[in-house]
Symmetry: C2
Subunit: 131 residues, 2 copies
Amino acid sequence: MRDSTQSRIEQWKADGFDPKNCPVRQVLDHLAAKWTTLILLELENGAQRFNALGRALPDISKRMLTQSLRDLERDGLVRREVFDTKPPSVAYSLTDLGRSFLTPLHAMIDWAGHNMPDIVAARNVFAASED
Amino acid sequence: MRDSTQSRIEQWKADGFDPKNCPVRQVLDHLAAKWTTLILLELENGAQRFNALGRALPDISKRMLTQSLRDLERDGLVRREVFDTKPPSVAYSLTDLGRSFLTPLHAMIDWAGHNMPDIVAARNVFAASED
DNA sequence: GGCATAAGTCTCTAAGTGAGACCTATACTC
DNA sequence: GAGTATAGGTCTCACTTAGAGACTTATGCC
């Protein structure tokens, strides 16, 4: 096996990166969280309000919806706008940064959709081998 | 209070998908987990044994290493081979399926690396706005 | 004999998640 | 004018999950 491609992790270490404090990891830890990706997909078509998001994602609790939206806002992927209606309403929408994340996200979703049959088959084999 | 545009998730629902039981989500829940991606990256260069993986990923516990490897094995991304040495050793390596996942994974990592400055800037703005 | 190594398992505790009650303010319904 | 609904959350409690690290079983090394 060729060794011309050193692993990314090895490179980072060589560059003095502490893997425990890896910035890419910090970003991915947020973005790969269960709900954030679903929220981003839901916002792909345009701004949505808090409760509309909650209805679109039926099994997210308000608590986690709030928390996930805060994370996305903090990282600059989502914009939060408060409108002075009565009662006040809040709209969430993608920033340019958030929109740009959809490309790699869709790449991963497409991979999952495309390879689902193999994964299901592997799971069946694995389950069968456990008896 | 109808939504004017139909989101991708809405479309799936219209197609009879239960979002709670979405197969893509099941796959992504595993693959987007904290450790699985790091393990896959670590295996990119070739097979590794259990303890070698543990040393490469210094802040993973043995418990989670075992569990993550099992998940990856179950989904067919990683192959586990036991060698009858003394004491017996176990090598983990990527399957073709696992290797194919590296493409979208690297796309996401590249995005994170490339957009890190914007994210850090956004976090600073957000932290400043919290006072 | 005592220590190290292999690949885990087991237990205990700490942290994170989900369900859902509750909050403040306004407007509509009867 | 009491009740109900909507908005966008927060708060609490129960439950699940993750992390730290001791323990296991068999062998080789000094």
